[in-house]
């Protein structure tokens, strides 16, 4: 990697780390959401670093634009409590068990990544967007159509779930 790319990688890693810590540890859900958005923007930067500007754009559009707004609606619609939903401390046992459940895959996967590195090229491959479009409408046509069906079912299911009849109550 070039020096500038290394600096950018470091900055994006710091942004991702800070956002993840805020998203996981903050007692207020709105602050946790801000942390999540920070992480999402950092991951978009990582996509730019990997020479995939289309993925970075989609990350901002789908995650930051749509999913974060959805989660914000979830926060608003559930009457979050005054002092933060996570204000009361968890018992120590739960904390230790959670840490163990996290460290096990971290140690295993980290060990595998470090000791068995895949053959990696130094400069990422550049794929023109035209080729992506041809992939979507050619070899991967079925998943492309299925994902639209899934989105349609999810949207109508969500509307159906929260529908309130006017005469009820």
């Amino acid at each position: 990697m070039e020096v500038l790319a290394k600096i950018a990688f470091g900055v994006y890693t710091l942004v991702i780390l800070g956002g993840a810590v805020l998203a996981v540890s903050s007692s207020s859900l709105v602050r946790a959401l801000i942390g999540l958005i920070t992480t999402l923007v950092g991951v978009a930067g990582m996509y730019l670093l990997l020479a995939t500007p289309f993925m970075a754009f989609m990350q901002l559009l789908i995650y930051v634009g749509a999913v974060s707004v959805l989660i914000f609606f979830a926060v608003m619609l559930t009457r979050a409590e005054q002092g933060g939903d996570e204000a009361d401390k968890a018992p120590m046992k739960r904390y230790i068990f959670g840490l163990a459940a996290t460290m096990t895959p971290a140690a295993l996967l980290g060990w595998m990544i470090m000791t068995r590195p895949a053959a990696s090229v130094a400069v990422p491959v550049e794929v023109p967007i035209k080729q992506l479009g041809e992939g979507l409408l050619g070899s991967y046509f079925l998943p492309f159509e299925l994902i639209s069906v899934i989105l349609m079912v999810a949207m109508s299911g969500a509307v159906l779930l929260v529908w309130e009849k006017r005469g009820k109550k």
């Binding site: 993840a20 992480t39 971290a106 990422p124 491959v125 992939g135």
Partner: protein
Amino acid sequence: MSALTLFQLVALILLCAGLFGLTQRRSLVGMLISVELMLNGAGLSMVAAAQLTDFSAVMGQLGTLFVMGLAAAEATLVLAMIVVVARRFKSAKSSDITTLKE
């Protein structure tokens, strides 16, 4: 350390942060936020692996795009469920809705 290893380590950190949040959070919305963190780690790992090895780059990018679409669908459905649960139980905490234990 190769570039791919560095990207994979960042993705692993995201996965573990999400996993830890999933075990610690006491509200359903917080758990949803943690799941989004984990999905982002998966996407980053997939794109890095496709871009930095000989594997088909188009397939890696489109796979991540599908992960994003599924994440959007999942977030929609979970939002609807949280709203229904919050209406019925008057709370969105996971400890308040475990009625099977009683």
